[in-house]
């Protein structure tokens, strides 16, 4: 690259940071508001005395922990289940492809295109019949299936990068399929498998169509908890901000950690 002139470089830095600031501002403001007291929170001003009072109140709410626990259980459950189903499938497609592998992959992708709203009615009715409404198991099943195509695709693109020779050497060393996957493939693709898991966690954690429609209280995750602040009697800005900050922070860290690999997963390997 040709070295650019100083004013130009300063200009670019200012522009870049300005863009980052504008995009991040609502989250920054959320953080600031969460540190205000409730009366200060309704006043959009920068002068206030920081307090953790709202966090204390949110965390003290008996139901908060239940919502948070639901989010954790459902996200982890959906991710573990999706990985368990997807790892064998991606292994076979990457290392023992057949004539049908290509069309299978594309078909899996196409199931992702079915808009959730299009099948809301039957899923709702089936869940009602099976007693799965407002259960963690119900949401875990939905999230597993919702993310399975992405998880398979992402693992497939990571697995494809492992040289066949290494797995074949393992076979010659006496490794059956299980040992081959466990001792060789997974250790070799650990960063990829981890970021696949993180993406699944992020998508489960933030999902807000099925969680709003299929749960009411017992299995409702944080998305639903936050939504409950939308009612007029729930307008407590500081508490809303504190609850939101707590709900967003962990997943934001996951997202930052895996941003590079996410691109691949979100675009089904079309952009690397």
């Amino acid at each position: 690259m040709v070295k650019q002139s100083l004013p130009k470089r300063v200009g670019i830095a200012v522009l870049g940071w300005a863009a980052a600031f504008v995009l991040f501002f609502p989250l920054l403001w959320m953080l600031l508001t969460s540190l205000k007291s409730e009366p200060e929170a309704v006043n959009p001003s920068l002068t206030f005395t920081p307090t953790l009072q709202s966090y204390g109140e949110v965390l003290a709410r008996a139901d908060y922990l239940s919502f948070a626990l639901n989010s954790v259980v459902i996200s982890v459950g959906g991710t573990v289940l999706a990985l368990a189903l997807a790892i064998p499938a991606a292994y076979v497609m990457a290392f023992h492809p057949t004539k049908r592998t290509r069309s299978t992959l594309l078909w899996m992708l196409s199931t992702k295109m079915l808009p959730s709203v299009g099948v809301l009615v039957p899923i709702y009715l089936v869940f009602r019949t099976l007693g799965l409404l407002d259960t963690r198991i119900g949401l875990i099943v939905v999230y597993t299936l919702m993310n399975l195509p992405i998880v398979v695709w992402m693992l497939f693109t990571f697995f494809k990068e492992v040289p066949h020779d290494i797995l074949e050497a393992g076979r010659m060393d006496g490794a059956r399929t299980g040992a081959e996957v466990w001792h060789l493939l997974l250790p070799l693709t650990l960063p990829g498998v981890a970021s696949t898991g993180l993406l699944s966690l992020i998508l489960c954690w933030n999902e807000a169509f099925w969680s709003l429609n299929l749960t009411s209280s017992a299995a409702a995750p944080l998305t639903a908890f936050i939504a409950s602040f939308s009612s007029p009697q729930g307008l407590f800005f500081a508490k809303l901000s504190a609850a939101s900050t707590v709900a967003v922070a962990p997943i934001l860290v996951f997202g930052w950690l895996s941003q590079r690999q996410l691109v691949r997963g979100l675009t089904f390997g079309a952009v690397k």
């Binding site: 290494i166 074949e168 050497a169 076979r171 010659m172 060393d173 006496g174 490794a175 070799l188």
Partner: protein, 367 residues
């Protein structure tokens, strides 16, 4: 230690047949080399023996047991890959111990076997390194060590030296030959390099387009090539091949007319070379020497001086070029006309189908 028997082996991918019927026996403790040009199917054949490629048709026996349906993990063979295929996330020690660990060997046994292999291969100092911290030659030795620790029935090598530089390759050739003697093991070695084949093999299997062209000891192939393909493939520089006409029978063999008017008697059985038939004359480059009474004359078109010897490219009447391998100090110069004498014992004759006419006597080293 084991014997290997291949019967009617075929391999196809869809409509494309890669291996077109291979029958072969490899004896216990034999060092067999599969050699042939790119795409001849030698690696595929090795991988079929390994169990990494499915056998489409035919039978594969190890020690008399048919093992077509046995997976690579259960065949008891070890393979050294061209890329070495070391496990990048494991130390040298763990790379070598992996097979033993899978087989359920005790810690003490694993340690003992790894120690033995690393002593043989002089890897003791590197046992705790990862493959990425090793040189090419060291990686190569780890790959071999990984095979040694298992005491496999048969060692399989897939072009193991092709990623090394020339000096290291020469050294590893000697080490592998020594290893074969010390371990007393059956080995199958795939290469496209006929020097590796000639220097290491007990038995060379020349493959071309999915078929075996000839099987034999290195000198058997060199002195008694079965056909034009083997004649051209084995030996460096290549055998000179000249289209000639058989002029008549001779008590010593078949008399052929050389370009430019000379004649030579090739000591082969002439039943398939009627007078007047067009045949191909093969002359090893070392069988051509400058001499004033030489039967072949031509203009020196190019001289390659290798120091110890000289390769003279000579254009003979009719436009064909022959290569003569002569003394390093021979005073030939580009542009001059020279005569070349032919040692009839190092000449070969091939019929119109490219098959060799059998020599009347066997070479003493190729019995």
């Amino acid at each position: 230690m084991a014997t290997l028997r291949l019967r009617g082996l075929r391999k196809s991918y869809g409509d494309a047949e890669i291996i077109k019927g291979v029958d072969l026996d490899i004896a216990d403790r034999e060092f067999a080399v599969f050699v042939g040009p790119s795409g001849c199917g030698k690696s595929t054949l090795l991988r079929m023996i390994a169990g990494l490629e499915e056998i489409t048709v035919g039978d594969l026996f190890i020690d008399g047991q048919r093992i077509n349906e046995v997976g690579p993990a259960d065949r008891g063979l070890a393979m050294v890959f061209q890329s070495y295929a070391l496990y990048p996330h494991m130390s040298v020690r763990d790379n070598m111990a992996f097979a033993l660990k899978l087989a359920g060997a005790s810690k003490a046994e694993r340690a003992a076997k790894v120690a033995e292999a690393s002593r043989i291969l002089q890897l003791d100092a590197y046992l705790d390194r990862k493959p990425k911290d090793l040189s090419g030659g060291q990686r190569q030795r780890v790959a071999i060590g990984r095979a040694i620790v298992r005491h496999p029935k048969i060692f399989l090598f897939d072009e193991p030296l092709s990623n090394l530089d020339a000096a290291l390759r020469g050294q590893m050739r000697i080490e592998l030959a020594r290893l074969h003697r010390d371990l007393n093991a059956t080995m199958i070695y795939v290469t496209h390099d006929q020097v590796e084949a000639m220097t290491m093999a007990d038995k060379i299997v020349v493959l071309n387009a999915g078929r075996i062209e000839q099987v034999g000891s290195p000198l058997e192939l060199y002195h008694h090539p079965a056909n034009l393909f083997v004649a051209g493939f084995i030996g460096s520089p290549r055998m000179n091949l000249l289209p000639v006409r058989a002029t008549g029978p001779d008590p010593a063999g078949v008399r052929v007319a050389l370009p430019g008017g000379g004649e030579v008697v090739v000591p082969v059985d002439g039943t398939r070379a009627a007078p007047g038939a067009t045949v191909t004359l093969g002359i090893r480059p070392e069988a051509l020497k400058p001499g004033t009474d030489g039967a072949l004359a031509g203009e020196v078109s190019h001289v390659e001086r290798l120091g110890g010897l000289t390769l003279a490219h000579v254009t003979v009447a009719g436009g064909a070029t022959v290569v003569a391998q002569i003394e390093g100090s021979a005073p030939v110069r580009t542009g001059e006309t020279i005569r070349l004498t032919i040692d009839p014992g190092a000449t070969h004759l091939f019929d119109g189908d490219g098959r060799a006419l059998p020599h009347r006597s066997r070479h003493p080293l190729a019995a």
